[in-house]
């Protein structure tokens, strides 16, 4: 059975030394949440994830969910784990205090999300979707709707869903046909079929709050005619407790590759009562609030799975004796050396490690900007922070989840055949990681969002929040005798990123397919440079600390070595990507569709 220990030391390092977490405590409402408090919260969450969520991950996968007469049951252990989750108050972590939340910085929610996804991704789907529903309602709902539905979403007593997808409409939400008809009391009757709805039905909570995209009778066609509704599974009695069923039926659940303990439901809405959230025909706005937050959260799924797979691969590589080191016997008392002596195994472990630690720093760095956006008194700072988050969202979503799949796969490889069989749990990580590349906007769509929306926005304004600080850091460090070895390769890659950016922007003006063809390579390039930025910062901190370090000497030593690995062994991928981008769309599109 796999094991999991939350990487608390690394999280503490990132909070304290890399992202300057303490500056958040000067924001209004955050004075209480200093690093010590943050760490005790993360320790509490870590214990919960390690001892409650992780132990039911493997059986959750084996058992899966079941449906009987329209009622979905989760695998054994999930209900009691969810109850403990609610009793311990975790759903309320960073929710608004006005609705019973604890008001913690969002940055910490990122760290907690990493741990939840690492220990049990399927379980994490339930609170994850509830948070999305909470967020959309908070931002766009009318006061009475908020008062009715938010408090129980915040405690976790009720869960939420996002109902977008229909059989004929996945990426292209403009095609959706679910209908909303006005009723005399101001509410609406919702009718239509949704597919692939995560947590659409289950036995963990006594009500489910669906957020549903639907079309009003006189709505314009396409994406401009979509409205957002809140549709509960059960209508409420006057005292606020769940009462009559609301015509939402779970028709079936999917049999699927991974996250088997998370039910993926076909839902039929039949004249279900719904209330409009936000303005008529402006449903995409609310949905985007929800999706942007959810996209970052999905990025954390990639990181979480990569981390748990790494931990297990490391301990297997230390235990498993096969072959002898190329440079002479390392384990003379045993029949063979441990796998970890082999350079090719080491390469895989270093790759996963360098991704995990870099991605962790980046995610928490993005997290601090969400907090700045939400809390900073100066509107200009708020807007800048929001723009940075908008720029980084597709990168975190797509790069982290692509790497999540690659890294879990590499970790499996270290187990050889033992990785492919079920017992060790490695193949589950690979299967679970796969979906994160697809939902919340497939990764190809993230890449289009980056090149099509984020690059051109306001004449490239968004890029400034990444490009400017990085060029300042590079200017400062590239001359430094110690930092030079890290800063130089990064400066070269950064130059490639800037050139590619220019190329794409110029070319796309005459032929949008150019942007489309470059998008995925470009996003990956951006992700690599962003991680490079984090590794430069971490190298700088650890180099400064190493001479006087005592107990954490090996920690800083490892950081510096991993930074060196990243800069020399991972970052150079940028140059291959650059060559690919510069070759343009021609070779991609030359063979006409009929030729396939």
């Amino acid at each position: 059975m796999p094991t999991y220990k939350a990487p608390l030391d690394d999280m503490k390092f990132v909070l304290n030394d890399v992202i300057d977490y303490s500056r958040l405590t000067s924001l209004p409402g955050y004075a209480d949440f200093d690093v010590d408090t943050a760490m005790s919260v993360l320790e509490g969450a870590a214990q919960f994830c390690e001892e409650v969520l992780h132990p039911i991950n493997q059986n959750g996968d084996a058992e899966g969910c079941h449906i009987d007469h329209g009622a979905v049951t989760t695998p054994s252990g999930f209900k009691s784990a969810y109850q403990k989750y609610v009793e311990s108050g975790w759903p309320a972590l960073s929710a608004d205090e006005a609705f019973g939340g604890q008001g913690f910085p969002q940055t910490l929610r990122f760290a907690v999300e990493e741990m939840i996804c690492a220990s049990n991704l399927s379980f994490g789907m339930f609170p994850g979707l509830s948070h999305g529903a909470y967020h959309a309602l908070l931002m766009h709902g009318a006061d009475d709707l908020k008062a009715t539905w938010l408090p129980k979403l915040v405690t976790g007593e009720w869960s939420g869903t996002m109902c977008l997808t229909e059989a004929q409409c996945g990426t292209d939400l403009g095609l959706l046909t679910t209908k909303a008809e006005p009723r005399s009391d101001g509410s609406h009757a919702i009718t239509g079929n949704k597919i692939f709805i995560s947590a659409g039905d289950h036995d963990l909570t006594d009500n489910i709050v669906h957020l549903v995209l639907a079309r009003l009778p006189d709505a314009p066609s396409g994406i401009k005619g979509i409205s957002l509704f809140i549709v509960p599974k059960f209508l409420l009695h006057a005292d606020g407790t769940p009462g009559a069923a609301n015509g939402v039926r779970c028709v079936s659940i999917e049999h699927k590759m991974g996250i088997k303990a998370s039910p993926t439901c076909v839902l039929a809405f039949e004249h279900s009562v719904g209330w409009l959230v936000g303005e008529t025909n402006k449903g995409m706005r609310g949905m985007f609030t929800m999706m942007n937050a959810a996209r970052l959260a999905v990025g954390m799924q990639g990181l979480g799975l990569s981390e748990v797979a790494y931990q297990n691969a490391v301990s297997y590589a230390k235990d498993r004796l096969q072959g002898r080191s190329l440079t002479g016997v390392k384990n003379p008392s045993g029949p063979a050396d441990p796998l970890i002596v082999h350079p090719d195994v080491r390469r895989s472990l270093m790759t996963i490690r360098a991704f995990n630690e870099g991605a962790r720093a980046l995610s928490l760095w993005v997290g601090t900007h969400i907090d700045m956006h939400e809390k900073h008194p100066d509107p200009a700072v708020r807007k800048d922070a929001d723009d940075f988050v908008a720029l980084m969202t597709p990168i975190v979503k797509a790069y982290f989840t692509d790497m999540g799949f690659e890294c879990t796969n590499m970790a499996l490889q270290i187990y050889g055949g033992h990785g492919y069989i079920r017992e060790y749990g490695m193949e589950q990580f690979v299967r679970d990681a796969r979906i994160a590349q697809i939902y919340e906007g497939a990764n190809g769509i993230q890449a289009l969002d980056l090149v099509g929306r984020k690059l051109p926005a306001e004449g490239g304004r968004l890029l400034r929040f990444f490009f400017h600080p990085l060029s300042e850091r590079l200017q400062r460090t590239v001359q430094d005798p110690q930092l030079k070895e890290f800063a130089e390769p990064l400066a070269k890659s950064f130059a490639r990123l800037q050139q590619a950016t220019q190329f794409i922007v110029m070319k796309a003006m005459s032929n949008p397919d150019e942007a489309g063809a470059a998008s995925t390579d470009y996003l990956r390039m951006f992700g690599l440079v962003a991680l490079g930025d984090m590794w430069l910062r971490m190298a700088e901190v650890s180099l400064a600390k190493l001479p006087t370090a005592t107990g954490d000497r090996s920690f800083h030593d490892a950081k510096i070595k991993t930074a060196r690995f990243f800069m020399t062994k991972m970052l150079p991928e940028v140059h291959g990507l650059f060559a690919r981008i510069m070759a343009g769309a021609g070779p991609v599109m030359a063979l006409e569709a009929e030729g396939f």
Binding site: G44, E51, G89, S554
Partner: protein, 251 residues
Amino acid sequence: MKIAVCIKRVADMGARFQIGADGASVSDAGIKYDMSDFDEWAVEAALQLNEKHGGGEVTVISLGPDSAQETLRKALAMGADKAVHLKADRIPFDGFAIAEALAAELKDGGFDLVLFGRIAVDSAAGVTGAMVAELLDMPCVTAVSKLEVSGTTGTAERQVEGGVETLSFPLPALCTIDQGLVTQARYPSLKGIMAAKKKPMESKPAQLGAISVNVSKMELPPERSAGRIVGEGAAAVPELIRLLQTEAKVL
């Protein structure tokens, strides 16, 4: 009820241990620490008793370096009311020296009940609780798997070979708590963690007794050599018996 629970910070037993440079201690590198399991159950037992009877106060006490405060903080997050840190630069092996320091702290505390874990999962000596009871002249019940209090009388159950033993005793008393009293200690809640920040934590030098027992050397168990498969099924039995007789010399 006023209940004191003495808790110890111990290394995570799942870790890969390495012997420190002095050859007589465990190296700290890469080791995580937490409250000893039995002590966690003792804290849980104390909280449950007071919840059942309404009111009361739970004080947690830990002896050790500053890091012991983290363990105390966790007990506060679980719901204990206040904490006392008895400061020492390390936790000595000598249970009696520790018992003297704890007894000095407990003596005038006016506690109705003092709880310990049955053993600390690292040193596994299981003596400190009983020694404290002796020093405080309190009735002592070890390895308690069920605990009730009514008025000034306590009733405890102990699992003994093949059965259960029920004992009663007057308060104030000292019990050491075994697995089975609670199925699971509660997890600190988010609210509990926040509340713990504001609960009182007193730190003072431990009045350790004279240390007369020291660890002189620690060794890792020898690595086991790989097993050998002598054959399969019934055909392998004669060879197996021969080896057990000639090589292992057990038959």
